[in-house]
Structure formats: structure tokens, C-alpha cells
């Protein structure tokens, strides 16, 4: 075998590569396969949350806000438990961000509420003195794109087997199910139902009227997404 390899440089190179990769493979691959499993309690996004995620991306929130809590005492004190790779299992694409001009938002749903987001998006400096974040008033007028969100849900469900309509184990031992609507009309109806619950906690009359009339302003979708970040 060795004599044969010595006379065939290409296969020799391949054999060298296999030997050198071996240690890397047995050290990295099992760990990687384990860490990329969804963490218990990680749920896929609902239609409205996904629409909110699109609003987040559209407005480049990730340019100033990260979604990655590093394992340092100072960070976990402020933001909560450090991030695990399995928590991003349903993020396509992930929104880790690379710069924190504003604070991390990985677990913002744990310590901010619907009404806070509403006040803050209208006029950040009124809530956080000295904030340099601009106001995002158009979110209260623009309508969220439920069609695209639903299309993405169907796609990731078919292509990546994201578990919609399936029981997902939660941290407290219970099961939870995230619904994937059968038709686009149903998806709109479900999203509106979710939006109504959020609009009930809001104060902006225009937003309330729009939701009552069957429209979903972008701010409602964005808040649904923010509240889902836990």
C-alpha cells in the first residue's frame, strides 16, 4: 500500500489530508452536531413574528443592535443567559450583528413590554434620555407584509423541515405548538388575531383603528417579534 502511495502523489496527498483531518473531524463534528440542535424551548416564529422579523431586517436594526449575549459576567448581568447556538436554529438568516451602537436584543422580550416599545419607537429620547436612536414613526403607518412571512414559513417548513404544527418540548416540560396556516387567508386571519392581542396593550389610536379594520401596521408585527425574543 505504502509503496503504491509513494508512486502516486495525488492519492498520497489525499491520504495525508485524511490523516490530518481525522483529529479535527472527531473533535469538531460531534460537538457541532450537538450544538446545532434547537435548544429545548426554542420555537419557530409565528406568521406575525416572522413579519416583524422582516421589518427588523428591512430597517437594518441589526446594524446597531446585536442578538448575541457573550459569556461574560457583565453581559449576563445585563442581558440574561449567554446565547447558545441551538437558540438560533430557526433564524434564517441569524441576526447576530457585529456592532453594538445600541444594546443587545437577544432577550429583550424578557424585560421590555409592548407599551414600552410603542413609546420608544415613537420617540426614543423621551424614554431613554440621551438616546441617539432615531424615531421610527413610519412603522405606525406602513402595513406589515404577511404574504412574504407566510411564504417563508411554508418554504422553511418544506425545505428545512422546521417543525410547524408539531409538538415542541418547552423548558418547563410542557409541549407547545406553532401553527402553520393551511391557506394564505387563514394565515392572515391568524396574524390578525395575534395583532389584536398586541394592539390591545397599545395606546396609538391609529394603530388600534387599523387593526380593528383588519390591517396590521408594521409596528405591531415588530413588537410581536420583540416580545418573542426571550
Amino acid at each position: 500500500m505504502f509503496h503504491w502511495l509513494e508512486k502516486h502523489p495525488f492519492f498520497f496527498a489525499v491520504a495525508v489530508f485524511v490523516v490530518i483531518s481525522f483529529a479535527g473531524l472527531i473533535e469538531i463534528l460531534p460537538n457541532f452536531a450537538q450544538a446545532s440542535q434547537p435548544v429545548v424551548g426554542t420555537k419557530p416564529y409565528s406568521t406575525l413574528e416572522l413579519a416583524g422579523r422582516h421589518v427588523y431586517i428591512k430597517n437594518s436594526c441589526n446594524a446597531c443592535h446585536s442578538q448575541l449575549v457573550r459569556p461574560f459576567k457583565s453581559e449576563t448581568d445585563r442581558y440574561g443567559h449567554y446565547s447558545l447556538s441551538g437558540e438560533y436554529a430557526y433564524d434564517r438568516p441569524f441576526l447576530w450583528g457585529s456592532k453594538r451602537t445600541g444594546p443587545d436584543l437577544m432577550r429583550v422580550g424578557n424585560y421590555r413590554t409592548t407599551d414600552w416599545h410603542e413609546n420608544h419607537m415613537k420617540d426614543p429620547a423621551a424614554v431613554v434620555p440621551g438616546s441617539i436612536m432615531p424615531a421610527y414613526r413610519w412603522l405606525f403607518k406602513n402595513t406589515a407584509d404577511i404574504d412574504t412571512a407566510y411564504a417563508e414559513q411554508v418554504t422553511v417548513n418544506k425545505v428545512f423541515a422546521v417543525p410547524y404544527n408539531a409538538e415542541i418540548p418547552m423548558a418547563d416540560g410542557s409541549k407547545s405548538t406553532v401553527k402553520l396556516a393551511a391557506t394564505l387567508e387563514e394565515a392572515h386571519a391568524d396574524a390578525l388575531e395575534e395583532a389584536k392581542a398586541i394592539a390591545a396593550d397599545m395606546k396609538d389610536q391609529d394603530v388600534k383603528d387599523a387593526v380593528a379594520a383588519g390591517q396590521i401596521p408594521e409596528i405591531v408585527a415588530l413588537i410581536a417579534y420583540m416580545n418573542s425574543l426571550k
Partner: protein, 303 residues
């Protein structure tokens, strides 16, 4: 002694002489410096004579031994025994590899999370030692700094609720809040029985359900710090049964509505709250000491 040997001795002497010229002046009495110098002598001598040995071998050795089967365009290779030292190192590496595979990597490897856990444990131990016996002033001061980070984003740096965007913590209750609680009930703070809404609130004085006018009166009375007489009778007839005649609450029954106290603050932090203004999430990430500190600080705010 041949020419090569003489050259070697001269070269070693030159090296050591050079070392002495450069570093000799700084030797002093330090034993470490002397040891280093001794090391330099040994290193130079051994290096030169090992090099000489091989140079001489190259000069005198003749090719001999058995040729290997392969030859490349007429150039062959002798079959040499594996040097003993190499064999020892090879076997040693095998043993080390098995140890590393089974124990070294899985058990002793560096882990970022491990370092984090050690960090946190060390910090917590230091924190607890430092704050084992805090007086009221230190507690309040600590509560103040926690407030800026955790509470001020909603309640404002002045704790005034930023124009009604969150509860105003400089007063215990505002009229709006009291009316909302009476109308809708409240059961979020973890007391065994929730407070009923207005359809469950009897006024003992009139033996009837509480009326709109009575709600207005008692809301003004409680918001005004329970002074004066207007609304006092409604309070005595309706609220005092659970909140106590002085409004300071009763253990396991109802919280104080006369003032903030550490228990009430701890309950709100533990359960979160939803009321007239909006929702407040639970803050279960705070430690016991931090909750105590916030309790002391918030209690002090409305005094």
C-alpha cells in the same frame, strides 16, 4: 588533536569570551546569573562538539548497507534502522495520544463556558462576602444603582414614570391606578386570594356593592395619602377588611396601599404586573440581595 578539534576549542572560547565581555559586568552576586553563565558554557560546549562529531562523520563515512527496493532514476536509498531515540519518542507519542483522546481533551480541555462559570462563582463569593451585613444606607445606595440600570428605562431616572409611560414610584398610588384596580380587580402579586373586581367589592357601611361615586371618593382619599374625611368611610367599609384600617396591608391577604415596602417591591419584581398603564415584566434575574436593595431604595423614594 587534529585541526578541527583545535578550531572547536577556539570557537567555544571565543563564544564564551564574547558572552563575558557583553554580560560579565552585570554578573554581581546573583546566583541566578551564575547559573545562567554556567548554562551558557554547557550549551556552547555541547553544541560545538556535537556539530564537530557530525562534520567528522560526514568527512569519513563510507556508504554501506543494504539498498531499499525503490530506486528513482538510478538513485537508491539505504535501509537504515530507526534511530533508538526516534523509536522511544514515537512510542511515547502513541501513549500520549491515547491519554489525550480519552482524558486530556474531553476532561482537561479549555472551555469558554468553564471560564465564565469560574468568573461568576468568584464574583458571587466576593459579592456575598462584601455585602453580608449591609446597613440601610448601603442597601439604598446599591438599590439606586440597580434602579438606574434595570428600572429607569421605563420608570425614568427620576422614578416619576416619564409622563405616565410607567408607574410613578414617587407616590404609592395614583387615582387612575386605584380606579383601574377597583374596577378590574388585581391578582398578580402572588397572594392566595386575588382582589375581586367591583362586582365583588361590598361596602359594609351601606351593605351594597361599591358605587361610582364611592370609587371616586375612595380613589381620591387613597391617592391623597389617606388624609381628610372624604372617602374615609368608604375605605373603612370596603378596603380596610383586607388592606387594614391604616392601609398598610396584611400578611398573606393584601399588600400595603399606604406606602411602598420591601415585601411589596419583591412581590412585584417576582411576578411582574399589569395595570392601568401597561405591563411590567417579572425580573427574576435579580439576586436576593439586589431585590432587597431595590426594596429599600423604592421604599425610600415615596417617603
Amino acid at each position: 588533536m587534529n585541526k578541527l578539534m583545535v578550531f572547536g576549542v577556539v570557537f567555544v572560547a571565543a563564544l564564551l569570551g564574547l558572552t563575558w565581555v557583553i554580560a560579565g559586568g552585570q554578573m554581581g552576586d546573583d546566583i541566578v546569573n551564575k547559573l545562567a553563565m554556567l548554562g551558557a558554557v554547557a550549551t556552547a560546549t555541547i553544541a560545538i562538539f556535537v556539530a564537530l562529531k557530525y562534520i567528522r562523520q560526514m568527512q569519513t563515512d563510507k556508504a554501506s548497507g543494504k539498498l531499499a527496493d525503490e530506486n528513482w532514476d538510478g538513485i537508491g536509498e539505504y535501509k537504515n534502522e530507526l534511530p533508538f531515540g526516534w523509536a522511544v519518542i514515537f512510542l511515547g507519542l502513541n501513549i500520549w495520544a491515547i491519554w489525550y483522546f480519552l482524558a486530556g481533551y474531553p476532561v482537561n480541555a479549555y472551555s469558554q463556558i468553564g471560564e465564565y462559570n469560574e468568573d461568576v462563582a468568584a464574583h458571587d463569593a466576593k459579592f456575598e462576602a462584601q455585602h453580608a451585613n449591609m446597613d440601610e444606607e448601603t442597601l439604598k445606595e446599591m438599590g439606586g444603582s440597580i434602579f438606574i440600570v434595570q428600572c429607569a428605562p421605563c420608570h425614568g431616572l427620576q422614578a416619576d414614570g416619564i409622563d405616565g409611560k410607567a408607574a410613578n414610584l414617587t407616590v404609592r398610588l395614583e387615582e387612575k391606578t386605584i380606579k383601574h384596580v377597583i374596577n378590574n380587580g388585581q391578582g398578580m402579586l402572588g397572594y392566595p386570594a386575588p382582589m375581586p373586581d367591583r362586582n365583588g367589592l361590598m361596602n359594609m357601611n351601606t351593605n351594597a356593592l361599591i358605587t361610582d361615586a364611592e370609587i371616586d371618593a375612595v380613589a381620591k382619599y387613597v391617592a391623597g395619602g389617606m388624609k381628610g374625611t372624604e372617602g374615609a368611610d368608604v375605605f373603612a367599609g370596603t378596603c380596610a377588611a383586607c388592606h387594614g384600617p391604616d392601609g398598610k396591608g396584611m400578611e398573606m391577604v393584601a399588600p400595603s396601599i399606604a406606602d411602598f415596602n420591601p415585601t411589596l417591591v419583591a412581590d412585584v419584581l417576582k411576578h411582574g404586573k399589569k395595570g392601568a398603564i401597561g405591563a411590567m415584566p417579572a425580573f427574576n434575574n435579580l439576586t436576593e440581595v439586589q431585590v432587597k436593595a431595590l426594596g429599600a431604595y423604592v421604599t425610600d423614594l415615596s417617603k
